[in-house]
């Protein structure tokens, strides 16, 4: 462990793209320990990609991802797996194992990574399920629980091994207002009571600003703003302003890159004057 003041996760001048399209173009950011950091930005802006880069599932074309001082991109599979045991990830739709019931889903990482006996595993699993309020749902199959519940089960599974870092990929998407509030409170509460560091990828401005200690806004492949929710809200940067006020027009492009309208609809005077 390095000192407590050093950020748990640090991205340094990261570049990443699929094929020719550059998604992240020189992103540098820090995720401080023990805090809830929100990663926001337009859809397709590379937020989930950042999570996958931190988890080492993608490798950046250039730049570094540091997790507790270790360069994630330079690790081999064993090193990466050792590192991943210290992080939990909550997928957008939970990604529960559909052939296992709720209890076995939460027990899965414990059974795979530890030699604990069943009695102890049972206690740990029930504690984790209690933390997300689903101790009574242990025998249900993933197909029998609602979307919001599935995500809470996935959360219990993500914290089963007591990780240092929990990453939430769109934890609020598609939730009703009540579940949304519950989920947000749960994230904050778990972060503080278990001493976690959390990264939330989200679109939901109000709820996210409410629970986050730090907000990072990604736009056009770069970090547009980084600071406390108050600082970001007060930002005069046109990009950030557009996002915070949810304005349709602004520096963030609404249109996917395309040929000009005239050209696509055949309105431009064609060279040579055919037809």
């Amino acid at each position: 462990m390095s000192t407590d003041t050093a950020p748990l996760v640090e991205l340094r001048d990261l570049q990443f793209g699929y094929n020719d399209r550059l998604i992240l173009d020189g992103v540098s950011l820090c995720v401080p320990r023990g805090k809830v950091t929100a990663l926001m930005g337009a859809s397709g802006g590379g937020k989930t990609t950042v999570l996958r880069l931190i988890g080492g599932q993608y490798r950046a074309q250039s730049g570094q991802v540091l997790f507790d001082g270790q360069d994630v991109g330079a690790l081999n599979q064993d090193g990466l797996y050792a590192l991943r045991r210290r992080m939990g990830m909550l997928f957008q739709f939970g990604a529960l194992f559909t052939d296992l019931n709720v209890f076995d889903n939460v027990a899965f990482p414990l059974r795979e990574h530890t030699d604990l006996d069943e009695a102890l595993i049972r206690d740990i699993v029930l504690m984790k399920l209690e933390a997300v309020g689903l101790r009574g749902a242990r025998d249900l199959k993933p197909s029998e629980v609602s979307g919001g519940m599935a995500r809470r089960v996935a959360l219990a599974r993500a914290i089963a091994l007591d990780p240092d870092l929990v990453m939430y990929d769109e934890p609020f998407a598609g939730l009703d207002p009540i579940s949304l509030g519950t989920a947000a409170r749960l994230i904050r509460q778990l972060n503080d009571s278990l001493g976690l560091t959390s990264i939330i990828v989200s679109h939901d401005l109000d709820e996210t600003f409410h629970i986050a200690d730090q907000v990072i806004i990604l736009a056009n492949g770069r970090v547009a703003a980084q600071g406390t929710p108050q600082e970001v809200r007060a930002s005069q940067d046109p990009l950030v302003h557009q996002f915070v006020t949810a304005a349709p027009e602004g520096p963030v492009r609404f249109h996917f890159p395309a040929p000009s309208v005239q050209e696509d609809f055949g309105l431009a005077p064609t060279a040579g004057g055919r037809r």
């Binding site: 590192l83 991943r84 045991r85 990830m89 997928f91 739709f93 990604a95 559909t98 795979e112 990574h113």
Partner: protein, 258 residues
């Protein structure tokens, strides 16, 4: 000139796919050791693949045996050698039909379910979630299924052949009236344990590797969408069946020459 670049692109893509497949195959073989140490996972999969294929395998075996009894009798009685019916039925089943038909049925019954399962796990981000939990999906999901498929195939082929011989006996001895003594006696004297039964076992092992690997590969490389999974499932049946039939010829030719 576009077709030249298209051809080049296609070729390169095929080569890359082949490379992926080869890498997966080597990794699965590499993982056989650790997989054996967690035999519980393999046992569950053998139960799943084997038990649920048992009905279709036995029924098919029975009917293939019936038909062999009839057709065999029809041919043999022309030469006055219908007493060799038992030998004919047993050799056909043990050397050829047992492994091949079982492999084809196995591809349709178990292979497709493997492909769909892996493909849907991929589509539901389950494999990705597992990977992020520091659990290697190849080791935890694919390798036990591979070993289970390879071990299940010879057992199913044996069941197929055994039931088929009973079917041949029902038609030949019970219904047509071939002498039971010569039916069983010729079979006992004419079927060699190593040359005939052994070759059949080798074939069914090779087909087990082929079908299971094709099914796992198709599922693992499937596009994580509904169409992708459905296409992968179809490809499993087509590729596995063709591979089995092609390999069968190769193996038979090879075994003849030894």
């Amino acid at each position: 000139m576009k077709w030249v670049s298209d051809l080049g692109f296609k070729t390169r893509q095929q080569l890359a796919d082949l490379g992926h497949a080869a890498r997966l195959f080597v990794r699965l073989l590499w993982l056989m050791g650790p997989t054996l140490r967690r035999f519980g996972l393999v046992r569950d999969q053998m139960h799943f693949l084997g038990n649920y294929s048992l009905a279709i395998i036995s029924v098919s075996g029975l009917f293939v045996g019936f038909v062999l009894g009839l057709q065999g009798y029809y041919t043999l009685q022309r030469y006055g050698s219908s007493s060799a019916l038992g030998l004919l039925v047993a050799l056909s089943l043990v050397r050829e039909l047992g492994p091949v038909v079982t492999a084809l049925l196995f591809a349709g019954r178990a292979g497709t379910s493997l492909t769909a399962e892996i493909g849907l796990m991929k589509a539901g981000e389950q494999l990705s979630a597992m990977d992020l939990m520091a659990v290697d999906p190849l080791r935890r999901i694919l390798a036990p299924r591979f070993l289970a498929g390879v071990l299940t195939m010879p057992i199913l082929a044996a069941v197929f052949s055994a039931v088929g011989i009973v079917g041949g006996w029902v038609v030949g001895v019970v219904m047509i009236g071939v002498d039971p003594g010569s039916f069983w006696g010729q079979m006992q004297g004419g079927v060699d344990v190593w040359k005939d039964v052994g070759n059949g076992v080798v074939k069914s092992l090779v087909f087990g590797v082929t079908v299971t690997f094709v099914a796992l590969l198709q599922g693992y490389e499937a596009q994580p969408t509904p169409e992708g999974v459905s296409r992968a499932t179809t490809r499993t049946v087509v590729v596995a069946s063709l591979a089995v039939l092609g390999l069968d010829f190769l193996l038979t030719a090879l075994m003849f020459s030894i």
